[in-house]
Amino acid sequence: MAEATAAIHGEHEETSTGLNNRKLLMWAFLGSDCMFFASLIATYVVYQGKSLKGPFPEDVFSIPITSVSTFVLLMSSMSMVLAYAALRQGSVKSFRIWIFSTAILGMTFLGFQVFEFRDFVHEGLTLKTNLFGTTFFTLTGFHGAHVTLGVIWLLSLGFHSFKGGITPDNHLDVDLAALYWHFVDVVWIIIFTVVYLFGVFPGIN
């Protein structure tokens, strides 16, 4: 039964493990990217509270606004998974709607980031100002760069589907993008907690 299901889902490949090469590659890449973000996060945490001068996190962070952008990104993960499910069920049209929705939600998140960064700069916080500025902009900036690459990838898939390039047969192409997208969301979950919530909670220091 498992074999039949697997065959329908196209997951039984002629490889030593039965797993698809590209999917294995993506998971190896995500494991590797964990170390990338861990190094940036560790740097941020080590320097937390050590800036010699302001602005400090409590001066600039707005938890309500960032909660909204966090929610937006979480919803984009849901729309991504619905895009994939729609494709598996054979509906390229639904797939298209959901994947463009994901890209739009991703761009909304980026929009929030851009506005937030501009606000901070107006309040005197830049990469050069202090340790907080240096570590904050680098960490969230690289996360934002990952999101941007993800948005480009999703848009490409969406446009590709107009030319008949995305069908239930090559669902793997979407699966790979989805894994990457969810990973980017998951990294933000950590950043939101460690940088924003821990950074501003009054009782913490």
Partner: protein, 622 residues
């Protein structure tokens, strides 16, 4: 893939000459490209070493200025590690892994080509620094704040940073490829615990690479931001800690040294059984010790920082973990010796180098254990005692094993044997001169000679041993030149080799020397370790995969097609890297060049993903 009308050029069909090399995706050709480039880089690093030893041969010399001397040792270290040893390992991974596991190529042939070209451009960028304002000069480990723009205003460090990032991309791409290849493309019946040990060590090394490189990527990004954009990652005036650089660097740096030695151990684990006509003693233990070394390698990094002032708790913890990691390392030595015990030993050149490796690595390991005590390391750190240790493990270890591997697999690559007489002279010359060069450094080190000094006063008690080291170094240079001579003349007119010149044990010896483009006419089914030996002497035939391609003498095998895009993507990275390098100096021009480079790479990647597959019959072996 349905038809898509986009203006993407078709993949090249049967390219010839230079184009066939630029567009190749054949793992064997890529292996040769890596090997030749790495050897040229090895000699470049060796030349840098010759300058260093000439300068230090006698006290009070000024053959080179202190500024140039700093560039020499920085480039020597960076070149040897990133441009010589690692790519030479990659050459072997590339050529041998598919052959050892019974595959026709790696999992991602174009990504493989991309790794090579990116490595080449990284090597080019680093060496261009010599003529574009000066090479990096802050050691191969680039400690902050010496590498900050305040203390190091030239472009040298920026070249170092960008080159290492580019080389990092190359290494990561290759490592991902080998993880997937080894896990997913083994011949039927080749369970993980039946793989050749070189393949196992390659798998472990690849995991280390994909987990360790991101850390140095971040460290280099942070340093670059400090230098180019004025951030504060390592700026004490802003409250930052330069020690953070050291931590991030060595969290990468220590796994890196296992990345340098595990492939070498894998090679030795192939050669010793072959030339002892015995299976490796304790195969599961050798595998397990490799895994344990890789795991524990993450827990020892601060032993490079014993004199930084981390405090007694940190120093004690890392001293203990460092002592502990000597155990799995030592275990392998016993496995190799036990393999030779009561074996029918044939001291061909490859075997000489492999046994020489064991001897020299033991010495290097012993001095390593001496460093593991934080207390005694307080005297040894930053002296020539460490230089002695590292050269025993990296030259006496890695390089000896790589040379052994070349002697061993040369017939497979070229179809000809390297000359045995020259080989034996080569071995003894290298072995003896290596000891003459590096053993005295134990003495100068314990007598207080610091590292990275461009000269020293007479009467410190260092004169004699420095002179001896320098003489040894020149002998060693001659030894390497002899090796090169042997390799070149043997490739041209050496004795023709059969498929199996050494009475080998593993799958690569079942196919012709050199192998056909498709490697195996029929993929074999494997039933145990050392499957070729079992077939030859134990009656265990390797039944080919039924219905597998290749029945028509290879004419129905579909091979991956050549492609332009890996090369183009690498060029984009190279151009982009230069743009980023000059952002500080040339702001908008630097940004523009960086953007152009990024666009070229993105277009190449996009085209790569959409690349049409040529007519399958076009690619049939011919």
């Amino acid at each position: 893939m349905t038809t898509i009308s986009l203006p993407i050029p078709k993949r090249p069909v049967h390219p010839t000459g230079v184009w066939s090399w630029i567009t190749t995706v054949d793992h064997k050709r890529i292996g040769i490209l890596y090997g030749v480039t790495a050897f040229i880089m090895f000699m470049t690093g060796g030349l840098e070493a010759m300058y260093i030893r000439a300068q230090l041969a006698r006290p009070g010399q000024d053959l080179v200025s202190p500024e140039v001397y700093n560039q020499l040792f920085t480039m020597h270290g960076t070149t040897m590690i990133f441009l010589a040893i690692m790519p030479m390992g990659a050459a072997f991974f590339n050529y041998m892994i598919p052959l050892q596991i019974g595959a026709r190529d790696v999992a991602f042939p174009r990504l493989n080509a991309f790794s090579y070209w990116t490595f080449l451009f990284g090597a080019l960028m680093l060496n261009l620094s010599w003529v574009l304002g000066g090479a990096p000069n802050a050691g191969w480990f680039g400690y902050a704040p010496l590498t900050s723009s305040a203390f190091n205003p030239g472009d040298g460090i920026d070249f170092w940073i960008l080159s290492l990032q580019i080389l990092g991309i190359a290494s990561l791409a290759a490592a991902f490829n080998f993880v997937v290849t080894i896990i997913n493309m083994r011949a039927p019946g080749m369970l993980l615990m039946r793989m050749p040990l070189f393949t196992w060590m390659t798998l472990i090394t690849s995991f280390l690479l994909i987990l360790a490189f991101p850390v140095i990527t971040v460290a280099l990004i942070q340093l670059m931001f400090d230098r180019q954009f004025g951030s504060n990652f390592f700026l004490p005036a802003a409250g930052a800690s330069p020690v953070l650089w050291q931590h991030l660097f060595w969290i990468f740096g220590h796994p890196e040294v296992y990345i340098l030695i595990l492939p070498a151990m894998g090679i030795v684990s192939e050669i010793i059984p072959t030339f002892s006509k015995k299976p490796i003693f304790g195969y599961p233990v050798v595998v397990l010790s490799g895994l344990v070394i890789a795991f524990m390698g993450w827990m020892v990094w601060s032993h490079h920082m014993f004199t930084v002032g981390l405090g007694p708790v940190a120093n004690s913890v890392f001293a203990l973990t460092t002592m502990a990691i000597a155990v799995p390392t030592g275990v392998k030595i016993f496995n190799w010796i036990a393999t030779m015990w009561r074996g029918s030993i044939d001291f061909k050149t490859a075997m000489l180098f492999a046994v020489g490796f064991i001897w020299l690595f033991i010495i290097g390991g012993l001095s390593g254990v001496m460093h593991s005590s934080a207390a005694s390391d307080a005297q040894q750190q930053d002296t020539y005692f460490i230089v002695a240790h590292l050269h025993y493990v990296l030259f006496g270890g890695s390089i000896m094993a790589l040379l052994a591997g070349i002697y061993y697999w040369f017939p497979k690559f070229t179809g000809r044997l390297m000359n045995e007489t020259l080989g034996k002279i080569n071995f003894w010359l290298v072995f003896i001169s290596m000891n003459i060069t590096f053993f005295p450094m134990h003495f100068t080190g314990l007598n207080g000679m610091p590292r990275r000094i461009y000269t020293y006063d007479s009467g410190m008690g260092w004169d004699l041993w420095n002179a001896v080291s320098s003489a040894g170094a020149f002998m060693l240079g001659a030894g390497i030149l002899l090796f090169l001579y042997n390799a070149i003349t043997s490739a041209r007119s050496g004795e023709v080799a059969s498929a199996d010149p050494w009475d080998g044990r593993t799958l690569e010896w079942t196919i012709s020397s050199p192998p056909p483009e498709y490697n195996f006419e029929q993929i074999p089914t494997v039933q145990g370790r050392d499957p070729f030996w079992a077939q030859k002497y134990e009656g265990v035939a390797m039944v080919p995969v039924a219905g597998g391609s290749g029945e028509n003498g290879g004419h129905s095998i579909h091979l991956p097609q050549p492609s332009y895009w890996p090369f183009v993507a690498s060029i984009g990275i190279f151009i982009g890297g230069f743009g980023v390098l000059y952002i500080n100096a040339a702001s908008w021009i630097g940004v523009a060049v960086a953007v152009i480079g990024a666009l070229i790479t993105m277009i190449a990647v996009y085209a790569w993903s959409l690349e049409p597959v040529n007519d399958p019959d076009d690619g049939a072996a011919h």
